[in-house]
Point group: C2
Chain length 349, copies 2
Amino acid sequence: MKRTEISALGKVAFVERLTEPFTTDLDSRIRQGIGDDAAVIDRGGWLEVVSQATMLEGIDFDLTYTPLEHLGYKLVVAAVSNICAMNARAEYLTVSIGLSARFSVEDATALYDGIKRATDQYGLSLIGGNTSASLTGLNLTAAVIGSTTDEELTLRSGARNKELLCVTGNLGAAYLGLQLLEREKRVLAGNDVSRPEINEEHAYILQRQLKPEARVDVLRQLREAKIRPTAMIDVTRGLASAALHLCRRSEVGVRIYLNRIPIASQTFKMAEEMRIDPVVAALNGGDDFELLFTAPLDKHQELLTMSGVDVIGHIVPASEGAALVTPDGGEIRLQAPDWTARVEAEGAE
Amino acid sequence: MKRTEISALGKVAFVERLTEPFTTDLDSRIRQGIGDDAAVIDRGGWLEVVSQATMLEGIDFDLTYTPLEHLGYKLVVAAVSNICAMNARAEYLTVSIGLSARFSVEDATALYDGIKRATDQYGLSLIGGNTSASLTGLNLTAAVIGSTTDEELTLRSGARNKELLCVTGNLGAAYLGLQLLEREKRVLAGNDVSRPEINEEHAYILQRQLKPEARVDVLRQLREAKIRPTAMIDVTRGLASAALHLCRRSEVGVRIYLNRIPIASQTFKMAEEMRIDPVVAALNGGDDFELLFTAPLDKHQELLTMSGVDVIGHIVPASEGAALVTPDGGEIRLQAPDWTARVEAEGAE
């Protein structure tokens, strides 16, 4: 039988091949099916928004240095962030966990403590899920249901030529946090390092990796300022990947000014120490859980003065492609690493 | 740090400990949270029903003898069956898969072909999900959203004294199918046996294991006969486990007549050949996806004549406990194997 490696096809084409048969004959109430941060169902007068987030041990987290409370919290944040990216409010959560005999009651309780802190923080109710045995490791899947309105719903596909490209918070910190944890793990290899000592200086980037937050605060700010994003996506696999998804769905191109990409001073410092390019961390790192969105050009002044939001570029016609603009005015084609390469590298059995 | 094995606590107490903190301060629209086959949200005029089903390689399926098309189909069936157990209709589905580098594009396509056949069969729309890398094996989680009404919603908790206990279809066949597949695997160990030859005689029990169905047909029958089950649960880990869950949530006891438990002739035959007690297979086997429900006593005659439904016992006060009644009138306390023992046995790393 023919065997095609997933990496040979590439992620986008792979997912399209799998889901293409499901794009026809959709229920007329489905406003958005596969292909956005969440699905949208028209409930008549309001819109239901549904998403799923999965985190697998050894791929999405390493329990050597990830406290289980933080992991539970982060799982909920990942699910809520998907709902935020639709400009919707997360309301209900179900969590399924598969755990092997390695895990104790205390471990599972710590995980659920983190889930509880997050549901309290984001005003969600845990309504279901299941707990089952796994052969190896810990598998987590959260499904989240939220709601929004026609007036507020923001898809990936709404960006138009000349609009502003904005991003919340700062990027790359979580990636540097991960690199720091990996370094500590190597240093301490062989010892029990379930909680490496956290240096005060490192606190920010570690927190960004271990206990990120979903940007419900910025959505509130935008709502209060009466700015409705035209397209939005959350940044979970780096700015490059997010921007390319947005361009693809909106059928537009983009220019991102390299020197406008927000990077925290702690990220710069750590990047220097570790000899990592901080811009590469922002473009290709993961786990930022920031929001990338477009907005009408006439909101420029308001967005420039809004805290927690940076205007980093603008939309151009699709024919002009997606590119980074260097300080000297040069252009670099925007590319994102393919996660399928990660399957190959990390998933080998 | 203290370490309590999950098996020491037992499944019910374990899940209760994890979810107890979430049972307070629930949104007033939550009609049913954790503790049933699905959660129920009151949407004003209709009820939304939400559930999740997880299947993990090495625990819930063995790809040595499970065709991926069938696995995809079964995942959807498991999710739909949860919704059926609420007397609701499944409508929307999201599927998250984690797959390692062992899997090819063709493998994933086969899996989704099965998902598609099931969504067509059950009239569901696949609206989302995600595909990610896993370190080892295949992890599947489906979330399903359905709907029902106040008049039709059936919880596990509605059973009352003297009511009839009924079950759909027949039990134990899927378990025997699994035993047969395991036997073939042992016989052919060392060879490539991705599709063991299926003997005509074995077709029924193999189909019950590899390609089960959710009992939407029986729900329709009940609706047409204007019989509303008072409590319901789907039988996925054997009759004993299902009956005990139902008793626990309804705060009642039960008597199940051993000789009324429906077992197919093919199951009997295979059980004899494999020296397995077919009643034990029905009580403790898995993957039947039949429905166990209670109904008012005055529906006895109608239920006795309904095809695909058997009256197997009746509800008694909680003080009388849950028991099997032998043909000679003796009573055996009903017990269910604890899945946490399975974690210990199968989940060792």
